[in-house]
């Protein structure tokens, strides 16, 4: 009958409820009135009978008016004009009827006519009334007629039960009709009022909510109302505003997050590009040494798709022996918490043996908990090979230089046996000092190579000057002072792993700059040169010279101790003194 939407609307329900209540109240009221109406009607008819009786009483006291029964006829004839009265008769105390047939019976009604017309034409009023009482529902009301406290007769009203009921029904119908009208008016008024006060605002709220839900965030309820509804509408609008703002900020947040995610993705892409582009393999492992992420080169190195490697362990990828070694490394990094850098072998997917340099670093979360390891490994096979070949070259060079120096030493020995001895002995001391000072093998080697030929520049000095037992002239001494430079000139083009020419050039320089030929000082002087300088002086003073006798070791040590820190390097002097005084070192000619 009505569509679903209408049936579910508040207005419809309200209307139905109001109608039901009013209808129910109408039924209740009508029933009550019906019961009351019957009683009222009976009461009013009894009153009528009483009225008639008292009227007759009054008339009977007035001889001018009542002269005969016609007056009584006229009275009852008036009484029967009432709807419910079928007949009205007056009887005397003996029971004789005083009124006549046509005055007493209401012939206007078909029911009465039907009954009467079936009777014999000369029927008496008494018989007619008896028949009516039998055939029609008649209620009789008797009222005594009194005069001066004496009963002089009685009025009998014959009432039609049917007509009384009809009258009651009529009244009920009238009341129901009236109630319906009132109900309709009240209902309409209630509906209009509630529509204006409640339903319209609610409908508008519903519409506003729908609009809001569809995305009209600025939608507001704009209706004229008062009281609680106004408060509701206002708080609804306030709520809408807050909600709108919240949604907008949420949307902004989402947009911002999306942007952040884009940035993150972009960053990751960039990172991946970087990672994939570096000529090294890189990975991340979790605590159980499972791969979390790898770069492209990693995949290439083992022959897997990088995506397929996630979740795998070294055991799944590499030959067993290598895998276990890697896992051991991981374990070490995890346990130590330190970065580990190792060079290790690797057999790639094509079975090619490689060398890699691996750096593994522990990774921690923000709380400092260990979460895994990051690793990077680069192919160092080429470097490794280069290093090996360099080593070989160096070794061969060393051998070549050694041979050359041996040749030079032999040459010097032939020409100047003193100097040759001096050179070998001071070399031995210098090597011992360097060893005492725990210097590198390379430094020691440099001393060993440079030492035996450190005075090679003296080859250009005439032998008579060198072996002159008298004091040298200034010119002669200047000539001698040139020998480090000459030595440098001789050796400068010799290919050597050590700075032999420079050591030789500096071996007469002093820490305070008082040496020659370039007056170098302090750190300008190579450590090899400083050591060689001390060893040279000690050997020179302690040994015999063509131009003087040997001054003795003690003199030599005094000399260096006295000039320690000024002419000579303090550490070198200390080491030298320790050799002689504590470790029983003896100057001797070393062998190659």
């Amino acid at each position: 009958m009505f569509n679903k939407k209408l049936r579910q609307s508040i207005g419809f329900k309200f209307l139905i409820i109001v109608s039901a209540i009013l209808l129910a109240s109408t039924v209740v009221i009508s029933t009550l009135i019906a019961i009351n109406e019957r009683a009222m009607l009976r009461y009013s008819l009894i009153n009528k009978g009483n009225g008639l009786a008292s009227y007759i009483t009054k008339l009977s006291k007035d001889p001018l008016v009542v002269k005969d029964r016609i007056e009584l006829d006229i009275i009852v004839n008036q009484a029967i004009k009432d709807e419910e009265v079928l007949y009205a008769v007056i009887q005397d105390t003996s029971g004789n009827l005083l009124t006549s047939q046509y005055a007493s019976i209401d012939y206007r009604w078909p029911g009465v006519r039907n009954i009467v017309s079936a009777l014999p034409r000369d029927s008496k009023l008494k018989d007619i009334i008896a028949t009516m009482k039998m055939q029609a529902g008649v209620i009789e009301i008797f009222t005594p007629i009194t005069s001066d406290a004496d009963t002089i007769g009685k009025v009998t009203l014959g009432l039609s039960e049917h007509k009384i009921n009809q009258q009651v029904v009529k009244t009920i119908i009238f009341i129901i009709a009236l109630n319906l009208v009132v109900m309709f008016i009240i209902g309409a008024a209630l509906f209009v009022a509630s529509k204006k006060l409640i339903l319209d605002p609610i409908t508008e709220l519903v519409h506003a909510t729908t609009r809001f839900a569809k995305g009209e965030l600025t939608t507001r309820v704009e209706i004229k109302t008062t009281g609680e509804m106004l408060a509701l509408v206002e708080s609804f609008n306030l709520m809408m505003e807050d909600l709108g703002k919240a949604i907008i900020s949420k949307e902004n947040e989402l947009a911002w997050r999306k942007q952040a995610e884009n940035k993150l993705r972009e960053g990751r892409r960039q990172l991946k590009a970087i990672l994939d582009n570096i000529p090294a393999i890189a990975w991340l492992k979790d605590k159980e040494s499972r791969l979390v992420a790898v770069n492209e080169p990693f995949g290439k190195s083992c022959g897997f798709n990088p995506k397929d490697l996630v979740g795998k362990t070294d055991l799944d990828i590499w030959p067993r022996d290598l895998a276990e070694k890697y896992r051991a490394d991981d374990k070490e990094v995890m346990e130590s918490g330190k970065r580990k850098q190792v060079e290790e072998p690797l057999t790639d997917s094509k079975g090619k043996a490689l060398w890699i340099e691996t750096i593994k670093t522990p990774i921690y979360d923000e709380q400092g908990n260990f979460v895994g390891t990051a690793g990077i490994a680069r192919d160092i096979t080429k470097r490794r090979k280069a290093e090996e070949s360099l080593k070989e070259t160096l070794e061969s060079l060393r051998k070549a230089v050694g041979t050359t120096i041996q040749v030079m030493v032999s040459a010097i020995e032939v020409r100047d046996p003193y100097t040759a001895g001096h050179q070998l002995r001071s070399t031995d001391l210098a090597r011992a000092i360097a060893t005492e000072m725990e210097l590198s093998q390379d430094t020691i080697d440099a001393i060993r190579m440079a030492g035996p030929i450190h005075d090679i520049g003296k080859l250009s000095i005439p032998a008579e000057i060198l072996s002159k037992p008298t004091k040298l002239t200034n010119n002669e001494f200047d000539l001698i002072k040139e020998h480090p430079r000459t030595g440098f000139e001789i050796l400068k083009d010799v290919k050597s792993p050590w700075p032999l020419a420079e050591i030789i050039y500096q071996h007469h320089e002093r820490m305070d700059g008082s040496g020659y030929p370039r007056n170098l000082k302090g750190d300008e002087i190579l450590m090899e040169a400083r050591i060689l300088a001390v060893a040279d002086v000690v050997e020179a003073i302690a040994s015999h010279r063509p131009y003087r006798a040997a001054l003795g070791l003690n003199a030599a040590l005094e000399e260096i101790e006295r000039n320690k820190g000024t002419l000579y390097d303090a550490d070198v002097v200390d080491a030298c003194l320790r050799l002689f005084l504590e470790k029983e070192f003896h100057l001797q000619r070393p062998g190659f």
Binding site: K67, D68, I70, D73, I74, N77, Q78, K81, S100, Q101, Y102, A103, Y107, R108, R113, V116, S117, R121, D122, S123
Partner: protein, 322 residues
């Protein structure tokens, strides 16, 4: 010559001065109010009898000023007219019909009232007795002795039950009923009173009445007047005799009429009015009825109802209506 002229002039002046007061008195306009209860034919005829007789006796217009009013059967209108006549300072009021007479007699005491067509002025308390009213009224009655009606009915057919149609609100009608009730045992005819309070209920009550009686008496009732053709039709079909004392009803097809001639009753009333106008006191003038009555038969109705009219009865009929 001059003397004769002067003498003649003096005589003329003397004559004129002698005649003048007489002339003024004779020419003084008498104002007469005539009041009819309704437009029923008998009342109209009565009025005609009155005006014609007044004219014959020198009290016709323009000698007197007649104000004729008709209440049309309405008591309200009747009261209005009565008030109007009371204020108009009439010299004489002529009332036609019992109801009209009662109203005027109760209200107006200082103006002579001559009534007509009042069935029984004593019964309805207009007059103290038939010889002298004892007040400002006198008049004529249309009364037909009920004995004459009962006799006529007996002579026509052997009736046992006679219904009397009456209107409780109209005294005239009730008086006729009461008179019949008093004589019913003398003629061994049961009188059945049938009150009619409005025209609408006549059709509902009458069939049952007709079923239970042999004859119907039609009293002077305005409701009977209005519904007479229906009453007669129903009765005639059932072969029920209809009888009345009102001649106008016979002209409306009532079968039998024992009637005082309305016109004659009017003329009789007019003669009494003239006496009053000439100075007689109303109370000194006796109230009278006619001595001779018409026996009228409506032959059309008789034929329609196929009534057997005894030849002896037909001989006594004075008037036959077609």
């Amino acid at each position: 010559m001059n003397r004769i002229k002067i003498q003649g002039l003096v005589i003329l002046i003397a004559l004129v001065s002698m005649i003048n007061p007489l002339c003024l008195e004779a020419l003084a306009e008498k104002r007469i109010g005539v009041l009819l209860w309704s437009e029923e034919l008998r009342y109209i005829e009565t009025k005609n009898g009155i005006t014609e007789q007044l004219g014959k006796e020198g009290f016709g217009e323009p000698a007197v000023k007649l104000t004729i009013e008709n209440a049309g059967g309405s008591k309200a209108k009747l009261a209005d007219i009565t008030q109007k006549f009371a204020k108009a300072k009439m010299d004489l009021i002529i009332a036609i019909g019992t109801t009209a007479t009662i109203a005027v007699a109760r209200e107006i005491k200082n103006v002579p009232i001559v009534f007509s067509m009042v069935y029984d002025p004593v019964e309805v308390n207009i007059a103290r007795n038939w010889k002298s009213s004892g007040n400002n009224t006198t008049g004529t009655s249309s009364q037909v002795p009920v004995s004459k009606i009962m006799e006529t009915l007996k002579r026509f057919a052997p009736a046992k039950r006679l219904a009397v149609l009456y209107t409780p609100a109209e005294k005239n009608s009730i008086v006729q009923l009461k008179k019949l009730l008093r004589v019913q045992s003398d003629y061994q005819i049961e009188v059945v009173p049938v009150p009619l309070t409005n025209s609408e209920e006549v059709a509902l009550i009458l069939p049952e009445v007709i079923r239970t009686v042999d004859a119907i008496y039609l009293s002077g009732s305005s409701i009977v007047g209005k519904t007479i053709s229906m009453i007669v039709d129903l009765a005639t079909k059932a072969k029920v005799v209809t009888i009345t004392h009102l001649d106008d009803l016979v002209s409306k097809r009532v079968l039998l009429g024992v009637c005082a001639n309305s016109y004659a009753v009017g003329r009789m009333a007019a003669r009494k009015a003239v006496k009053v106008l000439k100075g007689a006191k109303p109370s000194s003038i006796p109230i009278e009825t006619l001595n001779n009555f018409d026996l009228i038969i409506n032959i059309k109705t008789a034929r329609a109802g196929q009534f057997n009219i005894p030849p002896s009865f037909m001989k006594s009929v004075t008037k036959v209506m077609e």
